[in-house]
């Protein structure tokens, strides 16, 4: 079972690299914002998988909840900033 979660975690890391490519070379700023948001969601899953592998899910679920919250807040703040400055 640990090997199963390990494979899923490595696959998630590969997907994070793909989103990182979009966040780095994105043509518009909206592509970058979407890429950063997707990276946050995948990091959340990787954190939970790490918790399962180390058998400390109760510790890692706190961290992942904070990460989900701040990720959402960061995306909303970035969208608000772009709306206020009128860069879109």
């Amino acid at each position: 079972m640990t090997q199963f979660f390990l494979i899923i975690g490595v696959a998630m890391c590969v997907l994070v690299l793909m989103c990182l490519y979009r966040a780095t070379f994105g043509p518009t700023i909206l592509n970058r914002a979407a890429g950063i948001s997707a990276i946050g969601t995948k990091t959340l899953i990787v954190l939970l998988i790490m918790g399962v592998i180390y058998e400390r899910v109760d510790m890692f679920i706190d961290i992942s909840m904070v990460y989900a919250l701040l990720n959402f807040l960061g995306t909303v703040v970035l969208a608000k900033y772009l709306e206020t400055t009128g860069e879109i």
Binding site: D58, M59, D62, V66, L69, L70, L73, V76, V77, K80
Partner: protein
């Protein structure tokens, strides 16, 4: 200046999420002993609740709940709680922040006094961090609009 937005999704999500954010911040502060977190992290999470309120409902709505003056007072009160507990231990004959000595004052055993003392210190740290984060957020997002900025330009 952030005004009241007309976005239904962001406003509904903020209204549903803010109570859970604040309760989760209190959980992180209270369980700082045996799970990740503590005063600083809990303060940052509860400040995130205020920032979400400011983003979705505008500054006028946020000022009713947390104005700049209240944030300044809270940051000072948080540092005062932290330093006050430390100096109280000093007065009772221990080192700075030696919580075991607080047991004599509150009629509890030294072990209980240590647990309660570190909780009080974390509450002070959380209050100060929350107020300072709100102050930074207000200062960044109202740049060029407060009376102080007008005075500096003249």
């Amino acid at each position: 200046m952030i005004r009241d937005s007309q976005d239904v999704i962001v406003k509904t999500l903020a209204r549903l999420l803010i109570p859970f954010v604040v309760v989760y911040a209190l959980y992180v502060i209270m369980h700082g002993h045996h799970s990740p977190g503590g005063g600083f992290q809990g303060g940052v999470i509860s400040a995130a609740g205020f920032i979400l309120l400011g983003i979705s409902y505008g500054f006028e709505e946020t000022r009713k709940r947390m104005s700049e003056r209240v944030a300044e007072v809270f940051s000072s009160v948080g540092v005062f709680i932290y330093g006050g507990i430390g100096v109280l231990c000093l007065i009772l004959g221990g080192n700075f922040l030696d919580y075991g000595k607080l047991g004599k004052l509150f009629m509890v055993t030294p072990a209980e006094a240590r647990s309660l003392g570190i909780l009080g210190v974390e509450l002070g740290v959380a209050l100060a961090v929350m107020a300072v984060m709100c102050t930074i957020f207000f200062a960044i997002f109202t740049v060029g609009e407060s009376p102080e900025d007008d005075r500096s330009e003249q």
